[in-house]
Amino acid sequence: MALVSADSRIAELLTELHQLIKQTQEERSRSEHNLVNIQKTHERMQTENKISPYYRTKLRGLYTTAKADAEAECNILRKALDKIAEIKSLLEERRIAAKIAGLYNDSEPPRKTMRRGVLMTLLQQSAMTLPLWIGKPGDKPPPLCGAIPASGDYVARPGDKVAARVKAVDGDEQWILAEVVSYSHATNKYEVDDIDEEGKEHTLSRRRVIPLPQWKANPETDPEALFQKEQLVLALYPQTTCFYRALIHAPPQRPQDDYSVLFEDTSYADGYSPPLNVAQRYVVACKEPKKK
């Protein structure tokens, strides 16, 4: 029953989104006119080679209008993006509900682990669609945006992706990509699911769980929310679901770019791999002491 109502709600939201997008474009075409005026005034000022007070006041007026327009445009765009986030979270809830319903249905065998390729595509998509943090002027990037760490008392919610340090059968410790199932305040422990083999659950204390960022940092507006060159991080090795220690080689230049990192690798002469690309989503700060 819950699934059906979620569907209709999603349909509603999609329609609202459609409307918002249309509104956005109206706003943008309206402000286009003013921007063209500004451009013309600039050109005239530059050709005449002098700044008269007339031009100054005119420019000021034009700038003020443009500011108001830009603000309005930003507002609608933010509303549209929020709408998308809402839809996505509903979809996520639906997925988790389906998973739980599936768990209780013991007659069905557990789903076979999905093919590697499918998993990798999913991971890539998740990284790409991580929302970009675009702050209003004066806003600072929040915790879990890019390299900004979570606040000390943050508890990851069910469905959040995390890097979890688990003990493998042979006693080795590894950081794996996992999804949070639940958190128990009584014992202060998380229950996480390895994203790779569905069904393999671990119960871990908070120290062994690092939440992955929930926003991408925009290199153009908030470069301080990115890891810098030579910083030590835990990054997801491409085509795997495990995190390893790495040094940042280069931070992303544009919002949709990846980090370029050097993984610690004893099989190479200098101890580091050649630069590999890892999305912002899968790079977190490394707090581990040197592994044995």
Partner: protein, 400 residues
């Protein structure tokens, strides 16, 4: 009119994102009617495109704000020529010509402090241009930039401690030294008054007397039987009091002799009571005799005091007061002496300052001469030496 090259604006290119090229999905969705709607699978691409649009709009907003701020400041602070540095570099639309003159101005500026710099002559040249243009605009009240005030406040707060001593202050010190008149008061020991029990007894009796008189008046009015109280006379009161006082002075057990007399009599006389007149004086005479013979130590004062705690305390406090006043007096003397010394040194310092000025004058004359490329005259040299020597002598006095 100001030249273009003085303009701090950067003339950004405020073109909005061409969504047809950069955001295909967005454009496609726009083209659709509401019935077709958006598919869930399109959400991701839409999100990315919307993010691009938002980020460019945000950037535009930020730049616009910065530029308007510059414009406003530039218009307001015409005479001051303060340019705000933009936080980021933009390559769009700013001809290279802007970069260089701006840098030169910024170097010459460095805040509002004094100091000659390459910026200064430039601003002087441009001043007339700005001024003639000022007439056309409304005179805007230039908000005065608050000067860095902290050192002034500091020196103001420290001033009372470092200021010169004036003769007035010396006089005040001398006044302080005069011994206060009420000192004698503090050292008096007030005599023991009537013991409180006696005083209260007397007061009580007087009260009763008053009551009695009142009762008598009432009784007269009423013509009632208030007999016994009315009989009480002042005379009787006094007689009663005298009796009780007499009783106080005598030992309780009825023996008329003083303590010493008793002991002596006990030692010398067998149990034969007899009465002797003037028992009080007998007691004191015996005491004096015993002390004279060296048989009894003269305890006189302390014996009394050990019982009188208040007196003991009073004496203690008086001693303290005496010591403290003496201490204060010495300190005030010292202070006065130091103040007088300091005053004389101040005068010397003043003379040093004047000598400094003279030396500086002589120096300036010599420098002027040197600048005119002629050697300073003997007169100037002599004067310079004279002033220098004078200054040295005063300094020696000061240090010595």
């Amino acid at each position: 009119m100001s030249e273009l090259k003085d303009c701090p604006l950067q003339f950004h290119d405020f073109k909005s994102v061409d969504h047809l090229k950069v955001c295909p999905r967005y454009t496609a969705v726009l083209a659709r009617s509401e019935d077709d709607g958006i598919g869930i699978e399109e959400l991701d691409t839409l999100q990315l495109e919307l993010e691009t649009l938002l980020s460019s709009a945000s950037r535009r907003l930020r730049v616009l704000e910065a530029e308007t701020q510059i414009l406003t400041d530039w218009q307001d602070k015409k005479g001051d020529r303060r340019f705000l540095k933009l936080g980021r570099d933009h390559e769009l639309g700013a001809p290279p010509k802007h970069g260089k003159p701006k840098k030169q101005k910024l170097e010459g500026k460095a805040g509002h402090g004094p100091g000659p710099g390459p910026g200064r002559p430039k601003s002087k040249n441009l001043q007339p241009k700005i001024q003639e243009y000022e007439f056309t605009d409304d005179p805007i009240d230039v908000p005065r930039i608050p000067k860095n005030d902290a050192p002034n406040r500091f020196w103001a707060s420290v001033e009372p401690y470092c200021a010169d001593i004036t003769s007035e202050e010396v006089r005040t010190l001398e006044e302080l030294l005069k011994p206060p008149e009420d000192e004698a008061e503090h050292y008096k020991i007030p005599p023991l008054g009537k013991h409180y029990s006696q005083r209260w007894a007397q007061e009580d009796l007087l009260e009763e007397q008053k009551d009695g008189a009142r009762a008598a008046a009432v009784a007269d009015k009423k013509k009632g039987l208030m007999g016994p109280l009315t009989e009480l006379d002042t005379k009787d009161v006094d007689a009663l009091l005298k009796k009780s006082e007499a009783q106080h002075e005598q030992p309780e057990d009825g023996c008329p002799f003083g303590a010493l007399t008793q002991r002596l009599l006990q030692a010398l006389v067998e149990n034969k009571p007899f009465s002797v007149p003037h028992t009080k004086s007998l007691e004191s005479r015996i005491k004096e005799e015993l002390i004279a013979q060296g048989l009894l130590e003269s305890e006189d004062r302390p014996a009394e005091d050990s019982e009188d705690e208040v007196l003991a305390e009073l004496r203690k406090r008086q001693a303290e007061l005496k010591a403290l006043s003496a201490h204060n007096r010495t300190k005030k003397h010292d202070l006065l002496r130091l103040a007088k010394e300091e005053v004389s040194r101040q005068e010397l310092r003043q003379r040093v300052r004047m000598a400094d000025n003279e030396v500086m004058d002589a120096f300036r004359k010599i420098m002027a001469a040197r600048q005119k490329k002629r050697t300073p005259t003997k007169k100037e040299k002599d004067q310079a030496w004279k002033t220098l020597k004078e200054r040295e002598s005063i300094l020696k006095l000061l240090d010595g």
